[in-house]
Structures are given as structure tokens and as C-alpha cells.
């Protein structure tokens, strides 16, 4: 699903943020990415969701080598990846409903087809009564839940989340993790970057840790 081989990354002429990163995310796996702030977690995620090209090394997504893939084929790859951004990145002029429906719209589906799915998902994340609210009128936690709903609504093959429980109370956090687990059981590969030890300990998932731009395997997945 995702393969990194000796990947290095530096911004401009700055120091290397990631060094010789090598790992594989198997299809259907559930993985946590941990590390101190500034360790390079967000940069690593950006390389996976094709926001930046690596400075060196080989990245393979869904069996395709990104260095040789035509740029015209990138949008199709990107649509297979759902991303929960650390800063949510909701469109401020669209309602909660329209924000969540965006990936489906990009996939060319019509509102009549997805209206029910979007409403159901918004209810599941506890925002059934805020569908028409604009992001500015919602709390940080509510915005985060919309961002998560948007990332999962199109049932992506790969879900990447950057601190997805950072702004929500433990009860909602547990509910969101159940949502990710549910998606994972349905076949989605999940990679979550987090500081939340309780969250990590609540699952038996694999944990990769970034230390000074290098990847350390802390815990292999524990098979239940």
C-alpha cells in the first residue's frame, strides 16, 4: 500500500527533516506515528499524501512509483487517500454538510446520491444538528469532527490523520477511534500521527516513532 525506501526530505537549503526513512504499510493495517513536536511527523504524512515531493529516496503508493508516475495520474491517487489535517482546512464559506460532501463531489457524484450518507456520517460524529452551520460558528472539536467526516466519507483506501483527537474530549476521542477502527475493518489502511499515549495504549496497533528525522519501530502490531 505504502512503501518508503531511504526517503530523505529537506525544505530548500535547510537541514534534512527526514533521513533514510524506510517502512512499509501493508494494506488493511492500522499504524500510529509518534514523535516529539518537530520530529518530522507532519512532513512524513505530507510525503504520503503527495503534498510534497521527497528530496531523495523512493516512495511507492498503491503499487506505483511516485517518481515515475505521470502528474496527470496524481489526482486519481490523491482521491484514494483521506486526510485529516492538523489544522482541519475546512472551507469557511461552505456548510458542515458541503464540507463533508466535498470528496464525493470531486468524485463526480451528485447530491441526491450521497445526501443520506453524509447526513448519517455527520450524525455519527455528533453533528447531526449542525449540518448547515459554517465552520466559523463551530468549536475546534466540532471542526475537527467535520474534518474527520470529510476524510472518511468517500471510504478511502488509505486514511491519514494528523493529531485527529487533539481538540476533542476523551469520550468523543474514543468514538472517533472506533470510527477509524470500523473503517480499518472494512479494509481501509489507517495511519494516525498522535501524541495521545492513552489512544495508542487503547489499541494493539503498530507504533512507529520518529526521532530526529529517523524512524524507529517501537511496537509491531499485536494480532488479537
Amino acid at each position: 500500500m505504502v512503501r518508503f525506501e531511504n526517503v530523505g526530505m529537506r525544505y530548500g537549503a535547510g537541514p534534512e527533516v527526514l533521513r533514510d526513512v524506510t517502512f512499509v504499510l501493508e494494506a488493511g493495517s492500522f499504524t500510529f506515528l509518534t514523535g516529539l513536536s518537530g520530529a518530522g511527523k507532519t512532513t512524513l504524512l505530507k510525503l504520503i499524501y503527495l503534498a510534497e515531493p521527497p528530496s531523495r529516496g523512493l516512495i511507492t503508493l498503491f503499487g506505483s512509483d511516485m517518481a515515475t508516475l505521470r502528474r496527470a495520474d496524481f489526482p486519481a491517487i490523491r482521491r484514494r487517500i483521506g486526510v485529516v489535517f492538523q489544522d482541519f482546512r475546512l472551507l469557511p464559506h461552505l456548510s458542515a454538510f458541503d464540507n463533508v460532501a466535498l470528496p464525493l463531489r470531486l468524485a463526480g457524484r451528485h447530491e441526491g446520491e450521497y445526501e443520506h450518507d453524509v447526513e448519517e456520517l455527520l450524525s455519527w460524529v455528533g453533528l447531526g444538528d449542525r449540518m448547515n452551520a459554517k465552520p466559523a460558528t463551530l468549536s475546534g472539536g466540532e471542526q475537527q469532527r467535520i474534518a474527520i467526516a470529510r476524510a472518511v466519507v468517500a471510504r478511502p483506501d488509505l486514511l491519514i490523520a494528523d493529531e485527529p483527537t487533539g481538540n476533542v474530549d476523551p469520550e468523543i476521542g474514543a468514538r472517533l477511534i472506533r470510527l477509524f477502527g470500523e473503517l480499518n475493518r472494512l479494509g481501509t489502511t489507517v495511519l494516525i500521527a498522535t501524541h495521545d499515549r492513552a489512544l495508542i495504549e487503547s489499541t494493539k496497533a503498530r507504533e512507529m516513532r520518529l526521532v530526529d528525522g529517523r524512524l524507529v519501530e517501537l511496537r509491531a502490531a499485536v494480532r488479537a
Binding site: 499524501y49 503527495l50 503534498a51 510534497e52 515531493p53 496524481f74 489526482p75 486519481a76 491517487i77 490523491r78 482521491r79 484514494r80 487517500i81 486526510v83 482546512r89 472551507l91 469557511p92 464559506h93 461552505l94 458541503d98 460532501a101 466535498l102 470528496p103 463531489r105 470531486l106 451528485h110 447530491e111
Partner: protein, 296 residues
């Protein structure tokens, strides 16, 4: 939400752009209207003069003036009437001659006694192709004081004037088109800058460049259509209202064309918003595609 147009919020502060496009369209419509008027006037002038001839018999410097003028007038009329291709030839009467000089010399017994040349107005059969040089020579033989004027120089100068107006208007139109394209491109770039996060996000979510471009091109094309239509309508109303002035008795300057457009000519002004919209659409699309290409 079914179309990509709603992806782009209505920009606050877009009014100045609308105003500039409206003013540009107004100026473009004025230039186009002036060009149409000059073209029509040029055709009218040429049609009015090119099928006519004037023969002038100058006052002889010696002898019996009146007898010579009468004899030469009769001779000129004979030559003209015998020439194939000339429909008819009529000498201007004494009263018509007086009214021609009246604006310069005034009226009265003194003026009436002044010796005036004879003028003979002749109409050509359209397309007859009369040999004017041969005719002039024959006239000279029959009446030594006769001069043939086919209005060629006058027509050439009028045509030159009309052509200058048409070319100037075309150059102004071109300048306005370039300026409008630059403004729309600039505004689109500014809009993209303001919406950079949205463009980045849509791109990140796997939107094709064309999908993102459609949101912007529709937005700017519709804005340009509204603003330029308003500008062109104001210009068209001005041109039509100028017709009202003439009907109300405001005299047009002699020889200058009327400043009123006919309805079918005013319809040409509709080309201004159409072209402005196309310019806005194309520049917005190209700007967005170029900007999206710069993102990884």
C-alpha cells in the same frame, strides 16, 4: 450543491473590479459606436457625391459677361446631354446661386449685381463609367471657361477622415481589450492568492486542474458579463439618446455624421460584453491552470 460555482465565495471588495470592467466596456462600446458611425457616414458621403458631377463656368474677365456665360452654359449643357452615362444636367437658377453665396456675402441689391459663375449639376447613371478626362476636354473645347469637378478630391478626403476614425476606434478597442484582459488576469491572480488555501485543498483532495479552473472561470466570466453588459447598455443608451436630440431639433453639424446609432447598429454593441466575458473566461482559466501547475 451541484455545480462548482459555489465553491468560490462571493468576494468582498470585488466592486472596484466590476466598476473598472464596466467602464472599460463603456469606452469600448463608445469606440465601436464611433467606428460604426464613421463607416456609415463614409458610405453615405461617397454614395451622395460619387454619382454627381458639377461643371463650373467661371466669369470671363473681358467682354459681354452675361452673353458669354449664357452661350457657354448652353454649350456645356449640349455636351453633357450628348454624353452617354449622364442621366440629366441642370443649371442652378439665379435664386439657387444667391442662396449658395448668401452665408458668405449676405443678401441685397449689391450682391445681386455681382457677377457669379454658372454652376451646372449633373447626375451620372450609376455604374455607367463615364470617361471624365475625355468629358473635361470636350467641355473645355465647347466652353473655354468651364471647369469639371467630379468631387474626387473631396470624396478622397472624406474617406480618409472616415478611415482614420475607423482605424483609431479599432486601435482603441484593441487597447481596451488588452487592458481588460490584464485587469481580469490581475484580479484572478489576486483572487487565487486569496483563495490559495482552497485551491491547495481541492488539489490535495484530488481535484483535477480543470475542476478548480471551472470554479474560477465561471465566477470571473459571470462578473465580467454583468459589469460589461451594464457598460455597453449605458453606451448604447447614449447613442440612442443622441438620436432623440436630433429629433428634438438639435441641428447636426453640416457634413459631420449624425451621432445617433440605428437600432441594428446598436445591436453590434452587444459584441462588447460577449468579448469581455470571453476575455475574462480565458484569462481566469489560464491563470488558474498556471497556478495549479505550480503546486506539486
Amino acid at each position: 450543491m451541484s455545480s462548482s460555482s459555489r465553491l468560490l465565495p462571493r468576494e468582498k471588495g470585488a466592486a472596484p473590479l466590476d466598476l473598472v470592467i464596466g467602464v472599460m466596456a463603456f469606452l469600448a462600446a463608445l469606440a465601436l459606436g464611433a467606428s460604426l458611425l464613421a463607416e456609415r457616414a463614409s458610405v453615405g458621403w461617397r454614395a451622395g457625391l460619387s454619382d454627381r458631377l458639377t461643371v463650373q463656368i467661371l466669369v470671363p474677365s473681358a467682354g459681354d459677361v452675361n452673353a458669354t456665360l449664357s452661350r457657354e452654359t448652353a454649350a456645356v449643357l449640349d455636351v453633357l446631354r450628348a454624353t452617354p452615362g449622364i442621366a440629366h444636367a441642370t443649371p442652378l437658377s439665379e435664386a439657387e446661386m444667391q442662396s449658395l453665396v448668401e452665408p458668405w456675402l449676405g443678401k441685397g441689391a449689391l450682391v445681386a449685381e455681382l457677377p457669379l459663375p454658372k454652376l451646372i449639376d449633373a447626375a451620372l447613371v450609376p455604374g455607367a463609367g463615364v470617361d471624365l478626362a475625355g468629358l473635361a476636354a470636350r467641355l473645355k473645347r465647347a466652353a473655354p471657361d468651364a471647369q469639371l469637378d467630379d468631387h474626387g478630391r473631396w470624396i478622397a478626403r472624406l474617406k480618409g477622415l472616415a478611415d482614420t476614425i475607423v482605424w483609431s476606434a479599432s486601435a482603441i478597442l484593441l487597447l481596451i481589450a488588452v487592458a481588460t484582459a490584464s485587469i481580469v488576469a490581475f484580479a484572478t491572480r489576486a483572487g487565487l492568492e486569496a483563495q490559495h488555501d482552497m485551491v491547495q485543498l481541492l488539489h490535495q483532495m484530488g481535484a483535477h486542474a480543470g475542476f478548480i479552473a471551472r470554479a474560477f472561470e465561471r465566477h470571473y466570466a459571470l462578473a465580467a458579463l454583468g459589469a460589461s453588459a451594464a457598460g455597453a447598455v449605458v453606451a448604447a443608451l447614449l447613442f440612442l439618446a443622441a438620436g432623440g436630440l436630433e429629433f428634438a431639433g438639435v441641428e447636426a453639424v453640416p457634413f459631420l455624421p449624425p451621432v445617433a446609432l440605428k437600432l441594428d447598429e446598436a445591436a453590434w454593441l452587444a459584441a462588447v460584453p460577449v468579448i469581455a466575458t470571453l476575455i475574462a473566461w480565458a484569462t481566469a482559466r489560464l491563470s488558474v491552470l498556471a497556478a495549479v501547475r505550480e503546486i506539486y
